[in-house]
Symmetry: C2
Subunit: 158 residues, 2 copies
Amino acid sequence: MTETNDSGRKQEMVMISEVLLQTDQEDQRVVILKERKDADMFFMMFVGDTEFMAIAKEKGAFTSPRPMTHEIYLKIIENTPIVFTKIEIHSMTEGTYYANIYFKMDGKEVALDARPSDSVALALHGKVPIFVNKELMRRMITEKDLENYRDLIKTVKF
Amino acid sequence: MTETNDSGRKQEMVMISEVLLQTDQEDQRVVILKERKDADMFFMMFVGDTEFMAIAKEKGAFTSPRPMTHEIYLKIIENTPIVFTKIEIHSMTEGTYYANIYFKMDGKEVALDARPSDSVALALHGKVPIFVNKELMRRMITEKDLENYRDLIKTVKF
């Protein structure tokens, strides 16, 4: 899928079907997005505790007796004609990822700047597609890569 | 101000003009609501980190380069005819406070169940009144109270 972003430059977008939650060695919360379960490209971002919990709840990981912040607002929005259409994680500047939430209101399409973590929670809740700029995705390191890397290292002269 | 709640019982509501943030001895985040600066009645609740920060930001305590969750949703709602009218912290059950967010949409008034912390952040953002059920407010302990208490203690027979 090719789209044009604000700057007019073409962006190749990857549609996400896997939203994975992890904590890293230092107990930081990590969200990983993949096109498919077996895809070797992935998008990774660190998120705050509350945003991590919001995504976990949307994935059905737990229930809570009281509504979380994003749930209250989505409930308010249910009373309006707003229809969410998609979210896009489109760029990275100075170590920060940027996303847009797209919605329709009275036939008008609106794009709104948002944090990727909030956007992903919203997308899971509203069952709208998640897109990530392909340039922001990394390739998983495979055993074959490691082997090639070891071979490469052997050729390096110190 | 007297209102009728869902159960039809009359509730005396106090309108809040002071929203104070504190951390307690154990570094827990506390929100204190008062009718006036010099009032000796107050409402107190413990809140999570993110909710504390949301209220602090709405009070102008800091700025952040990226929008917080509630700010993104309030920005989405700006595109709709929704008008927030008030919030009410109306009851406490099993140690949990309950609030309602009131808004108008196409002439219809809607009350929505919400956490008090989210409601207060919304009220500060939208500059709508905050009400607290008077029964949920406590009286500040004064020096005079302590003195009376000491006198009372002296009369107690063990």
